[in-house]
Every structure is written in structure tokens, then in C-alpha cells.
């Protein structure tokens, strides 16, 4: 503290960070939680409208998480342990879903299995009812197993290959080693991966909204209470229940992995050599991955085919008409907005996270623990809750002079702070304090030392924060659904609206354009960073 008093600039910077965190993380959330007031909560809880969605949310989270984790586990095991061919291909296929809005899986599902779906109607001539629990279950399984895969693969690849070698030398077979050595050792990591997947599923808004039908979950109920009935109080109460569930999962996750922040997903394979597995196992892994990859190719391929054909699936003439539609008018603006908002948000988020991480990790002032907690907390906040928070706090008449695009950008910055922040803290832990002290003892103030010595060394943390925020900003629907205006609409919103309008050509072309843009942007960042980019797949 005394050292802060001696460096007023540092003190000011710290106060600014605290003010920003209070304004943009704490204040909006508190607004939502207290909005209903005590009597509002009593009325709402007695009304009982929340019981069904709560049960549905829990049910679908349990189901989808289980299947997504199982599939993700198979994929991860195959990638880390087996000696199957085509691994680079499977790796790329496994990353692609992370770059797309998860809810486009629901759109693809409708195209394949909907009332006029290519499989259901086209092949079997049926128009089954595919909405509801089973539809959501299937869609979320496909949408989130790639996330589970990344999380689990990270845990498995961090398991110590030497111990496995040692167990094999003692005569245990590969399967036995896996069950008696690898799994017990990675149990906390796997538990954390499962809980993280569960948070993704729990807060999923797009998929249940598109194919849930009358099957409402907490996020969709919160949304329809506001957009359909303008019942803000109940929506706030519903999202508070959702927040509590997510917080519970998140706290359990931190207990398991001690708050290990993020998984770095890069195109490169892990170099750790693993003991060999039998040929049969590799073959089985290959078949399983092939099937899963085929499923992903089917889901995303359908979108691509639909994007390039006149009327999918009845008229398959090639056309770029949908893309012309996407490039013009509001649609073009939405794409441009997505790009600008995401890049700006990613840049600010990464830099802010690094700076805040430095203040917390290197500081000696009281209250660091609290700031640390606040900077990690957004990871536990469901997007829909975050969006409602910003709606409540900042969608005010007296703020009308502010371009609403900034609101979206700020929401993206602070919703995504945890990944960049934890990457920064992890990075700083790797840099010995004597380096900053060396700068200080040579006459540089703490801020100067941070700029000259730490920032250049923490490029990796900056890139993780930047790329992750960028990708999550490009793909999120729930955070922005309450914040956009006609002038500041973004790609995910337009895709969602076009799906609702059953404009499949437009929706799928938009999806392809959005994903394509994200990929191109990432390739450019990668080129600028000379290939050293990594995406934090998990929420912190």
C-alpha cells in the first residue's frame, strides 16, 4: 500500500481498473439480482412458473453433458493415445465447431430432421415432431462435444507420460494403465472438464430457443419473459436462478482444478511420446473418430451446401445469391459490425486483462483477492444473464448519446475478461519477479517496467486473451440479443432472425460467411503473430 502511495500514477491506474470492474462487471449483475426485490422474489417463487424450466434445464444439462462428454472423451482418447492415421484432419475438424456459433447446429438439425428435413421428409417421407427435449439433447450433444473434446484432450495430454511408461514397464497393459494410472491421476482435471461442459450446456440459449418449442429452459424463459411479455421482474428472477446454478457448477470446478484457467488449443500436436497401444484399439479409435467427424461434416456440410444452393433441399442449383443477400444492406452492416466489435473488444479485453492480471499478481495492496474474484467471475455468468444485466444497467435514456455498438463491445470485453486475465496471471507466474525488480532498480517506475519488460514477455498471454475473446465475440448470441439495435446488429443476431423467418438460404450463407470471416481473421492474426496463436477453448 505504501508503495502505491509513492507512485500516484500506479494508484490512479489501479483505481481506474477497480472503477471499470465495478461499473461493468459488478453493477449490472447486482442490478439484475436485486431487480425483483424481496416481495418480487416471493411472488415469483410462489407463482411456480420457474419450476418447469428449472427442471428442464437440469434434465437437459445432465443428458447433454453426459453424451457430449462421452463423445468428447472418445475423441480425446483417440487423439492423445491412439496411433490412428489422419490425426491432423481430425484435429482441424475438432477445432472448427469452436469457431462457429453453437446454435447453428440447431439450424442444421432442422434442415436435416425438421418437418421438411432432408432425412426425415426427403428420405423417409415423415414430418415427425422433432422439437423438445430429444431434439435439444441431440443438438447440444453435437454442438458441445467438440468443446468437451478440447477440454479432455488437454487434461489427458498433461498426464505424465513417464508414469504411464513406468506402469507399462511393470507389465500392465495399455487399458489397465489407462484405468489404474492415467484416469485416477487426471480425475480432478476431467471433473473440471465435465463441469465446464455442463456450464456451456446450461447457459446455451440459441439451440433451445430454435428447436425447444414449448420445452422451455431457464435461458429461453428469461428471454421470452422480456421479449414476449416485457415482464422484466420475472426475467431477472429466472436469470438469477440460472446464475446460481452456473455459479454452483463453477465453484465446484474451481475446487477441482484450483481455478486452472484455460486450455490452449493450437493446431499443433502434443510432443509427449505415449506408450504404444494395440493396433486394434487404434483401429477402433479411428472408426469412432471417423464417425464423429462425419457427423460434424454432415452438420456443417449441410449448412455449406444450403448456402450455395437455390432452395435447399428441393432445388440444388448452385447459386451465390444468398451471399449477395448477406453482403448487402443491414446484413453487410451486421457482418462488418461483428468484425469491428469483435476485434475492438478482443484487443481491449486482452490488454485490460493483462494489465489487471499484473496489478493483482504483482501487487501488494489489500483487496487483491476481491479484485481477483471479480475478474474471474464473469466466467460463471451465463451470457443471457450478462446481457440482461447490461440491458438493465445501461439501456437508459440518459445514455442515448452513446453509440450502442460500444455497449456491445464493452459487454464482450468484460464477459470475456476471465480467459485473458487468467492467461496473464499464469504468464506472470512464469516470469520471475527479479525481472521487474531489475527494471525498477535501474530507475524504471513499476508501470514503465511493466511496459518495457513484462508486456513483451507476455505476448502469449495477450494472444490467448485476444483470440479467445475474438472467437467468443463472433459466436455469441445470448450476450448481444438484448443489446443490439438495427444499426448495431451483428451476424449471430441476423442468423438467428433469418432462421426464425425460415430464410434458410440467407441463414446458412450468413453462417458460412460468419465462420469464414472468423477463420480468415484468425489466419491473419496467426500470420501477424508468426503462427504463435492459441485459443483458450474453455471458459476460464
Amino acid at each position: 500500500m505504501r508503495s502505491l502511495r509513492r507512485e500516484p500514477v500506479l494508484l490512479l491506474a489501479l483505481l481506474a481498473v477497480v472503477a471499470l470492474v465495478l461499473t461493468f462487471i459488478v453493477y449490472p449483475q447486482v442490478q439484475v439480482v436485486i431487480a425483483p426485490g424481496p416481495s418480487g422474489y416471493v411472488d415469483f417463487l410462489q407463482g411456480g412458473t420457474w419450476i418447469g424450466p428449472l427442471r428442464n434445464s437440469v434434465e437437459v444439462t445432465l443428458l447433454s453433458t453426459t453424451t457430449a462428454v462421452l463423445l468428447g472423451f472418445v475423441y480425446a482418447y483417440a487423439m492423445v493415445y491412439s496411433h490412428m492415421p489422419w490425426k491432423p484432419f481430425f484435429r482441424v475438424i475438432g477445432i472448427l465447431p469452436l469457431l462457429s456459433p453453437p446454435f447453428v447446429v440447431a439450424a442444421s438439425y432442422l434442415l436435416l430432421f425438421g418437418p421438411r428435413g432432408i432425412v426425415t421428409y426427403g428420405v423417409f417421407g415423415q414430418s415427425p415432431i422433432i422439437f423438445g427435449l430429444f431434439g435439444i439433447w441431440g443438438v447440444q450433444t453435437i454442438a458441445y462435444f467438440p468443446f468437451a473434446y478440447q477440454l479432455i484432450a488437454d487434461v489427458l495430454s498433461r498426464s505424465d507420460a513417464r508414469m504411464e511408461q513406468a506402469a507399462r514397464n511393470l507389465g500392465a497393459g495399455p487399458w489397465r494403465v489407462f484405468w489404474t494410472v492415467t484416469l485416477p491421476l487426471s480425475r480432478p482435471g476431467l471433473g473440471a472438464a465435465i463441469l465446464t461442459t455442463a456450464i456451456y450446456v446450461l447457459e446455451d440459449f440459441g439451440n433451445p430457443q430454435i428447436i425447444g418449442g414449448i420445452f422451455t429452459v431457464l435461458p429461453t424463459q428469461a428471454y421470452s419473459l422480456i421479449s414476449g411479455f416485457g415482464d422484466f421482474t420475472s426475467a431477472a428472477a429466472v436469470s438469477t436462478i440460472l446464475l446460481l446454478l452456473a455459479l454452483g457448477l463453477y465453484v465446484a470446478k474451481i475446487r477441482l482444478d484450483g481455478g486452472r484457467a484455460f486450455v490452449t488449443v493450437s493446431g499443433r500436436a502434443s510432443s509427449m511420446p505415449r506408450p504404444p497401444v494395440p493396433l486394434g484399439l487404434s483401429a477402433a479409435c479411428f472408426v469412432a473418430c471417423l464417425a464423429l467427424a462425419a457427423l460434424l461434416v454432415l452438420v456443417y456440410g449441410t449448412l455449406v451446401v444450403s448456402a450455395f444452393t437455390a432452395v435447399f433441399p428441393t432445388n440444388l442449383t448452385f447459386t451465390v445469391r444468398h451471399f449477395e443477400f448477406v453482403a448487402t444492406g443491414t446484413n453487410g452492416d451486421a457482418l462488418r459490425n461483428t468484425l469491428t466489435f469483435s476485434v475492438v473488444a478482443a484487443a481491449f479485453s486482452a490488454v485490460f486483462a493483462l494489465f489487471a492480471g499484473w496489478l493483482v499478481q504483482r501487487g501488494t495492496w489489500p483487496g487483491r483477492g476481491a479484485l481477483d474474484f471479480l475478474l474471474i467471475m464473469p466466467a460463471a455468468i451465463p451470457g443471457i444473464f450478462f446481457g440482461i444485466g447490461y440491458l438493465t444497467a445501461f439501456n437508459q435514456a440518459w445514455l442515448d448519446w452513446v453509440n450502442r455498438g460500444w455497449l456491445i463491445i464493452i459487454a464482450m470485453i468484460f464477459w470475456n475478461i476471465p480467459v485473458g486475465y487468467q492467461a496473464a496471471v499464469a504468464g506472470l507466474r512464469q516470469v520471475d519477479r527479479s525481472l521487474d525488480e531489475a527494471a525498477t532498480s535501474l530507475g524504471a517506475s513499476k508501470l514503465r517496467g511493466f511496459r518495457d519488460v513484462l508486456v513483451p514477455m507476455l505476448g502469449g498471454s495477450l494472444r490467448v486473451g485476444f483470440v479467445t475473446t475474438f472467437v467468443r465475440a463472433v459466436t455469441t448470441l445470448s450476450v448481444v440479443i438484448f443489446l443490439f439495435t438495427p444499426a448495431t446488429t451483428v451476424a449471430t443476431i441476423r442468423i438467428y432472425q433469418l432462421v426464425n423467418d425460415l430464410n434458410w438460404g440467407g441463414a446458412t450463407a450468413f453462417t458460412v460467411a460468419d465462420i469464414g470471416m472468423a477463420i480468415v481473421a484468425l489466419v491473419i492474426f496467426a500470420a501477424l503473430a508468426r503462427g504463435r496463436i492459441a485459443l483458450g477453448a474453455a471458459r476460464a
Binding site: S3, D432, E437, A439, T440, S441, L442, G443, R448
Partner: protein, 349 residues
């Protein structure tokens, strides 16, 4: 000055003056608070009590980067993303020194520490000794009032350590700059320093010139920590103005009375005799002025420059060093030891 970490008092009411322009060393066993003292001087820690003055000016309220102290770290802490030149130029750049002067001073300092030609290397491309020199150059170039060094040689092998020891000493002499040096290696401390403070458990046990500390340690801890020593319990039998008469075993000797320490007749004391203060001979001692002891060789070890004997006299063993032992066969069996009285130092218990 006092510095606490939670419940631990790392530095406990320590007070000392480092003479200007001296090579001063804080010496002590691991965990005694040397680093904490040094870092508090540098401004990385705030003392819980007490003042730090540099050149007569109280610097407690100055942040670390304005104290005029530069630090050389144990692991060197070279900036890995800067070349040798940029590392050394860093402090000047921060101080907005003009480009021409900066270039000149960097060149001179690098030449000074013998690194000319390595300007464009990265720290990772240097040997340990070279990195160490860059670290010193980087700190010297800003001409600090005090240079602080925290075990700067401990990561190097013995030979290089010895060589750099000499270089550091020469450098300091030439610059006339005040160095505060931290080490737990007594040999390093003795050979480098003009002034040594020996610390133990957060306190300074004794401070002064190296030979004072070596031959006239004030406590048994000090005697033992600074080199090999014979510590023998004895009793004071008579006190004179400048001498004390002590008895130990069946022996009686008149030795120098330590100044500023109270010794009382009839009390127990420790006699402290360095192994090299003895002379050892096979026959009866020639030096009748000295204190003579008769004993037998129990063990011996050849240390190269000396032969170390453990000689049993009555019921205790004495460590005795024979300098320049030569290639003749070592002593064995009965030997005589003698030591001049002024080499026997009395430690009040």
C-alpha cells in the same frame, strides 16, 4: 531497521553503517535475513521500523526506482527479449540519456567488464559468467550511489567464481563505488570485503573489518561460522588490564583481554584458536614463549595448500593446520603444538 513477514521477523532491529566507497558484505547462514536487508535497502520492501539513509539522506519514502541503488540479482535477471547492448542501455534509456552519450557509456562499460564484441548477443546465448558480467555492467552503467549484489556468484562453478571475485574487487576499487554484497560463503566475504556484517537469525552479530571478525569473533557462532576453529571451554582465573589468565584442562595461559567485552574472574569463557595459528612439530616445542600442548595425531586430511591434523590432547581434539606441508611423509604419533598467546582469543560465554 526491522522487517517482519506476518509472524516472522526476518530482520530484527538491525543497525549498521556502511563506509562510503567500501566493499561491504552481509554474511550469514541461509535464512538469516541478508536478502531481506538488501531488498529493504533497495526499496522492494518497506521496513516495519527504522530508517534507511543513503549518503546521509533518508530514503524510506522514495520508491525503489528513485533510490539511486542498482541491484545485481542472483539469477542475473537479464531481460531475455533484449540484446546485451539493450540490456545495458536500459537504465540510461529510462533516464533519458542522450543517444550519443548512451552509446558511449554502454561501450565503455562493456569494455570495462570485458564483454566487447558480444553486444548483439541475446542473454540466452551467453555463458553463466558472461551473463553475470552483463548483469553487473547493466547496473554499473547508471552509476548508482550504491550497488547491491545478492549472491551474484552462487550460480557459477568454483573456478569462475574465484576469477570473478577478483574482477569484482578490482572493479569496485577502480570505481570507488559503494558495494553492498550478500553472501553465505565466508571465504568470498573475507576475500572481497573491506567491511563485513555477520548476520544470524535476523540480527547483526558483529560488524567490522574481515580480520577483526576472523580472529576476534564476539560469539561462538561467529567463530564457527567464519572458518574452521578450535573452541575450548576455559575458566578465567586472573584479570589484568590488557590480559586474562585462563585455565583449561591442566593448562594455564595468559592471553589478550578482549576489549568491549566483560569478562569476570571465576567465570567460564571459550578460547578461540584458528587451526593455522598453531605450529606443529614432532619433537618437543621450540617456542618456549608460546602455549605448548603435547598430543597424538588422531586423523589428518590433505587439503593441498595445508595438511590438517586432528590432534588429541588429553581428552579433546584440536584442529591444527600445517601450511606448505611438502611431499615428505606426514606427521604421526606424538606431536607438540604451540601457539602464541596473542593468537588465542577469549569469547565471553
Amino acid at each position: 531497521m526491522t522487517k517482519r513477514f506476518g509472524g516472522v521477523t526476518a530482520v530484527d532491529d538491525v543497525s549498521f553503517d556502511v563506509p562510503k566507497g567500501a566493499f561491504a558484505t552481509l554474511l550469514g547462514p541461509s535464512g538469516c535475513g541478508k536478502t531481506t536487508t538488501l531488498r529493504t535497502i533497495a526499496g522492494f520492501y518497506d521496513p516495519d521500523a527504522g530508517d534507511i539513509q543513503i549518503g546521509g539522506r533518508r530514503v524510506n519514502e522514495l520508491p525503489a526506482h528513485r533510490r539511486g541503488t542498482a541491484m545485481v540479482f542472483q539469477d542475473y535477471a537479464l531481460f531475455p527479449h533484449m540484446t546485451v547492448r539493450d540490456n545495458v542501455a536500459y537504465g540510461l534509456r529510462v533516464a533519458h540519456t542522450g543517444a550519443a552519450e548512451r552509446t558511449r557509456r554502454v561501450r565503455e562499460t562493456l569494455a570495462f567488464v570485458g564483454l566487447t564484441g558480444l553486444e548483439d548477443r541475446w542473454p540466452s546465448q551467453l555463458s553463466g559468467g558472461q551473463q553475470q558480467r552483463v548483469a553487473v555492467a547493466r547496473a554499473l552503467v547508471i552509476e548508482p550511489q550504491v550497488l547491491l549484489l545478492d549472491e551474484p556468484l552462487s550460480n557459477l562453478d568454483a573456478k569462475l567464481r574465484e576469477q570473478l571475485r577478483v574482477e569484482l574487487r578490482t572493479l569496485q576499487r577502480r570505481l570507488g563505488m559503494t558495494f553492498v554484497y550478500v553472501t553465505h560463503d565466508q571465504g568470498e566475504a573475507l576475500s572481497l570485503s573491506d567491511w563485513i556484517a555477520v548476520m544470524n537469525a535476523g540480527k547483526v552479530e558483529q560488524a567490522g573489518e574481515p580480520w577483526e571478525i576472523y580472529y576476534h569473533p564476539r560469539t561462538a557462532f561467529l567463530a564457527d561460522f567464519v572458518g574452521a576453529v578450535n573452541l575450548v571451554p576455559a575458566r578465567v582465573s586472573e584479570l589484568a588490564e590488557t590480559t586474562v589468565t585462563v585455565t583449561f584442562g591442566t593448562h594455564r595461559a595468559q592471553v589478550r583481554r578482549p576489549p568491549d567485552v566483560t569478562v569476570t574472574a571465576g567465570h567460564d569463557v571459550l578460547l578461540c584458536v584458528r587451526p593455522e595459528s598453531f605450529s606443529i612439530t614432532p619433537a618437543a616445542p621450540a617456542d618456549r614463549n608460546g602455549i605448548a600442548l603435547e598430543g597424538t595425531v588422531a586423523r589428518r586430511a590433505f587439503l593441498g595448500d595445508t595438511m590438517r591434523y586432528w590432534v588429541r590432547v588429553d581428552d579433546r581434539e584440536w584442529i591444527v593446520d600445517q601450511p606448505d606441508p611438502g611431499a615428505a611423509s606426514p606427521l604421526d604419533g606424538a606431536v607438540s603444538l604451540s601457539v602464541r598467546p596473542e593468537r588465542v582469543h577469549v569469547i565471553a560465554e
